[in-house]
């Protein structure tokens, strides 16, 4: 991307973000705002089909044939490649100490960890953190808004969709001039690596009465957990419960 298109893209993203975030309400995961359900469900069905015939079989083959240490290094590599977004989001959430530690973690894994293939930082106590711009917006008080199902990428919300765009611009890796084949290869491996970590979930999903609702609830519960770093307020996580 040259500077002109980057600028236009950024301006477009900002406009879209503002439009999406206006009026984003806080909802309970149990009574979410899902006004697009009639569109979301067919998209979910499409994602499920694409997964069933393409992503899942490829991932199964990957897990079956690629040895665990190699898969682990692939995971580490991607974690590290996009880790600067964590450093930036730490700072945006005023977690300055964590931001410094995460920067150290990134530098250590990039150098001693051979461009992130290994994770020496965890061994010396620089633990991995989980932050992204969707969480930052949540921290700033933006509600999640509507639940939306994105083609290929899966569950999201208005807020988290904006977060994705923000994260994209925060990752130095996304400013590299890749050729299209490189871009496709990188994203392909990333998709398989991500999917490999979710294989355990398949049988749980299969046993649900309504996998769409299960995934929606689980996604929203998980995001709340992330925004509040493991301690979401009870008013969001517990509906009214019977006395006995």
């Amino acid at each position: 991307m040259d500077k002109g298109t980057t600028g236009t893209a950024a301006a477009l993203a900002w406009g879209l973000a503002t439009a999406l975030l206006v009026g984003c309400a806080h909802n309970s995961p149990y009574e979410p705002a899902d006004p697009l359900e009639r569109i979301n469900r067919p998209i979910y069905a499409f994602n499920t089909t694409a997964d069933k015939y393409v992503l899942r079989p490829v991932t199964k083959t990957y897990v079956d044939y690629v040895p665990a240490p190699v898969r682990s290094s692939v995971s580490n590599f991607f974690d590290n490649l996009f880790y600067p977004t964590v450093v930036v989001n730490d700072a945006l959430q005023a977690k300055f100490k964590q931001s410094g530690l995460d920067l150290t973690r990134f530098l250590m894994n990039t150098t001693f960890g051979v461009v992130g293939l290994f994770d020496p930082a965890t061994m010396v106590g620089l633990d991995k953190h989980d932050e992204d711009f969707g969480q930052t917006l949540g921290r700033w008080g933006v509600g999640e808004g509507w639940y939306i199902m994105l083609p290929f990428f899966g569950p999201s919300t208005n807020r988290d969709a904006v977060g994705r765009v923000g994260d994209y611009f925060m990752a130095p890796a996304n400013y590299v001039d890749y050729t299209w084949p490189e871009r496709i290869a990188l994203n392909g491996v990333l998709a398989v690596d991500t999917r490999a970590q979710l294989l355990d979930l398949d049988s749980v999903l299969d046993q649900q009465l309504d996998p769409y609702v299960f995934l929606r609830t689980a996604y929203l519960q998980r995001r709340l957990n992330q925004v509040y770093d493991g301690n979401p307020p009870a008013k969001y996580t517990e509906p009214e419960l019977p006395e006995d």
């Binding site: 995961p29 149990y30 899902d34 359900e37 009639r38 569109i39 469900r41 067919p42 069905a45 665990a68 991607f78 974690d79 490649l81 996009f82 977004t85 991995k128 992204d132 990428f153 899966g154 569950p155 988290d160 994705r164 994260d167 994209y168 990752a171 890796a173 996304n174 994203n187 990333l190 991500t194 970590q197 979710l198 355990d200 979930l201 049988s203 749980v204 046993q207 649900q208 009465l209 309504d210 996998p211 769409y212 609702v213 299960f214 929606r216 609830t217 689980a218 996604y219 519960q221 998980r222 709340l224 957990n225 493991g230 979401p232 996580t237 517990e238 509906p239 419960l241 019977p242 006995d244």
Partner: protein, 221 residues
């Protein structure tokens, strides 16, 4: 980057949940909540360790053990009530009972298989329980440590003291993803579309599966 933010969505949900499920068995009466969780962990895992071949060959005997050892430590009546949620007042006592049975069988059979799969690949650390609400409720936090070195999974047991002195589990949360409250949301949508009797009937018949492509399965107006 797109997929990177999605990494670990509901990561390890299955393994955490299942490992957790195993913890809850074989409690001793009138013990502190975390003790209920802790002392029974080893018993159940030892049982599976001893009988793993038999259980794998004969699922019925495994389910029978799960029914005998695990189910009594879940407050299934309360779980049924939580899941019925706002529909509780419309339900007759018989319906609550039927609902309890239907939910219990589904829960047990759905998750018991996972238990069998993961019993020996994790270790479970139990932290002291936090008793709330004047001694009626407690949360017991545990950490599922995976032997393959992947990040540990925080799992919380929500327990209640039903008055007979026994602490019983009514919800399990893996990384704050709640099993029971998630199920409640699914059931709520189904009841709104039809009625409690029809949902019970379909649960019992194993017919309650929603086609994700069915765009009409949204909430009834």
């Amino acid at each position: 980057m797109n997929l990177s933010t999605r990494r670990g969505l509901i990561r390890n949900f299955a393994i955490g949940l299942v490992a957790a499920f195993g913890v809850a068995a074989g409690a001793v009466a009138a013990t502190p909540p975390e003790q209920v969780i802790k002392t029974t962990t080893d018993a159940l895992r030892a049982d599976i360790g001893k009988n793993v071949a038999k259980y794998q060959a004969d699922k019925a005997s495994f389910y029978a053990m799960v029914d005998r050892e695990i189910v009594p430590h879940f407050d299934t009546t309360y779980i049924a009530k939580v899941i019925l949620g706002s529909h509780l007042k419309e339900a007759s006592p018989e319906q609550i009972k039927q609902f309890e049975t239907a939910f219990k069988d589904m829960l047990v059979h759905s998750y018991a298989d996972k238990l069998l799969e993961y019993y020996d690949s994790v270790d479970i650390q139990v932290k002291p329980g936090v008793v709330q609400d004047g001694g009626k409720r407690a949360e017991v936090n545990t950490t599922i440590v995976r032997k393959d070195g992947k990040p540990p999974i925080p799992v919380t047991f929500s327990m209640r003291n039903g008055g007979d002195g026994d602490w019983k589990v009514w919800d399990i949360k893996a990384e704050n993803i709640s099993l029971v409250l998630n199920f409640r949301t699914q059931i709520d949508a189904e009841i709104k579309k039809s009625n409690i009797a029809s949902v019970i009937q379909r649960l019992n018949a194993g017919q309650l599966q929603v086609d994700p492509a069915d765009a009409k399965s949204g909430k009834a107006p």
